[in-house]
């Protein structure tokens, strides 16, 4: 579904991604772990072109994301993204947050979009918050809404960048539960996280990133129980 070929990304002189080649299949739940500053976010953000790669190619369902001729807005409709800081639209209530993109992009009528939004809100037990504004919600509620806001676009893959890192500990569970349900329903997911329990339970494949490269990868048991590289062992010993 996603093909990454020799991806490089530099900020000014500093190379942050140093040649990543990776393939992600439909239905996979890829979990990316690694130390801070290793390029996890940058890699994820290149996948939907929030960052423009310096070189290399990214194909999504066979279409080049990196080709300037590609309609990137069209491609992004099929790739949901969830951010560490939720990024709900502060000026809009929850219903408008969820319907803005589908309605403006003429994918749904307003009535259809609102019906779908209510269905989605029900799935995360927040249907009573449709009229609320983001500032009136807790972090966990905001993130659950950010997830279903993405789902309202009916994406084929969901990208998560540390979705629970900004949450108070007691709210981490409710967000991970939503993500687990999404995984069970067969969504293709790429998740950057420090929640190793989630990675082990939900991940179909773990990528360990260090210094702008994927230095080790495998199934959860391969990575967590039998890591091969010293750097991976070192990292895991600190977080587990």
């Amino acid at each position: 579904m996603i093909d990454v070929k020799d991806l490089h990304k530099s900020f000014e002189e500093k190379e942050v991604l140093c040649g990543i080649t990776e393939h992600i299949d439909q239905g996979e739940k890829v979990v990316i772990i690694g130390p801070s500053g290793s390029g996890k976010s940058t890699f994820l953000r290149c996948l939907n072109m929030l960052e423009t790669p310096t070189s290399g190619e990214i194909l999504f369902k066979g279409v080049s994301m990196t080709d300037p001729a590609t309609d990137i807005n069209k491609m992004r409709q099929k790739m949901g993204m969830v951010f560490q800081h939720f990024n709900l639209f502060n000026n809009l209530n929850i219903m408008d947050n969820m319907t803005l993109a589908p309605v403006q992009l003429k994918l749904k009528s307003k009535a259809e979009a609102e019906r779908d939004a209510l269905d989605l809100l029900r799935r995360v037990n927040l249907e009573d918050k449709a009229e609320a504004y983001p500032s009136q919600l807790s972090g966990g509620q905001k993130q659950r809404i950010a997830i279903v806001r993405s789902l309202a676009m009916h994406p084929e893959v969901m990208l998560f960048d540390e979705p629970t890192s900004a949450l108070d500990p007691e709210m981490v569970g409710e967000v991970l539960d939503v993500m687990k349900k999404l995984a069970e329903q067969g969504m293709t997911m790429v998740v950057v996280t420090h929640e190793m329990g989630f990675a082990r339970e939900v991940g179909s494949r773990i990528l360990f990133m260090d210094g702008g490269q994927i230095t080790e990868q495998g199934t959860p048991s391969e990575i967590f129980d039998h890591p091969r590289m010293p750097r991976t062992k070192d990292f895991l010993s600190k977080v587990l």
Binding site: N73, K74, M81, N87, N90, N91, S150
Partner: protein, 235 residues
């Protein structure tokens, strides 16, 4: 006491002088209002050009946009780097030396001047909106312009309005400079009357009070607007 009344009479009432002040206030308000409208239009255009230019993807630079951005930068630098009175003199005695329509030139000059400041106010307002808002909109597949229109600009306006109000107040007070090109605004009215009656206290203190009252009215209106926005905000 008698002298006080006589001076007052001579400064404001004799020869229907109050009419001169009234006309002056009219011109002052007209110049400020037209200049503000012009300034906001210019400011929005310049701010949009500069913001779009700065938010382009590196490596996908647009040449036309580059040139427009260059012009916008020179404009704000020159306008903000030279005295307003000098701009007024150049406009009236050099660029539009063939016209005697001093009020028109004053409106245009103040509008162009105000545009440079308004552009920076708007740009600052847009930049003050958290970048994550734009990213979230783009990640949903919304193009740049709708993301700006529905998400970023509504949040920027909240930061822009108070500063824009201050700009209007500064503009109103600065219009007294138009006397140097002979526009008969409120300040000029006082000068004319002083020349004729040799009274300085009443005319000048009088117009100072008028300016102050005008500024206080504008400030109050802005306050109402801000409170109303905060109320509709529910945040």
């Amino acid at each position: 006491m008698e002298k006080f009344l006589a001076d007052f009479n001579q400064s404001f009432i004799a020869g229907d002088r109050w009419l001169l002040y009234l006309k002056g206030v009219g011109i002052t308000l007209e110049v400020a209002a037209v200049a503000l409208i012009l300034g906001v239009i210019l400011g929005v255009i310049v701010a949009v050009i500069r913001t779009i230019h700065d938010q382009q993807h590196p490596g996908r630079q647009n040449a036309v946009l580059g040139i427009l951005n260059g012009i916008a930068k020179v404009y704000t630098t020159v306008i903000r780097g030279t005295p307003l009175m000098v701009q007024l003199l150049i406009m009236y005695f050099v660029i539009f030396s063939n016209t005697r329509n001093a009020v028109g030139v004053a409106m245009l000059t103040f509008g162009i001047n105000s545009g440079a400041y308004v552009a920076e106010i708007i740009r600052g307002g847009i930049m003050s909106v958290d970048g994550g808002q734009m990213e979230a909109a783009r990640s949903l597949g919304l193009p740049y312009m709708p993301s700006m229109r529905f998400v970023v600009i509504p949040q920027a306006v909240k930061n822009i309005l108070p500063a824009l109000g201050n700009e209007l107040i500064a503009l109103l007070k600065d219009t007294s400079l138009v006397t140097v090109i002979g526009v008969r605004d409120l300040t000029k009215a006082a000068q004319l009357i002083q020349g004729k009656t040799y009274q300085a206290l009443f005319p000048f203190v009088g117009i100072a009070i008028v300016y102050l009252v005008l500024v206080m009215i504008i400030a109050a209106l802005i306050g109402v607007l801000e409170r109303r926005m905060r109320a509709s905000d529910r945040r």
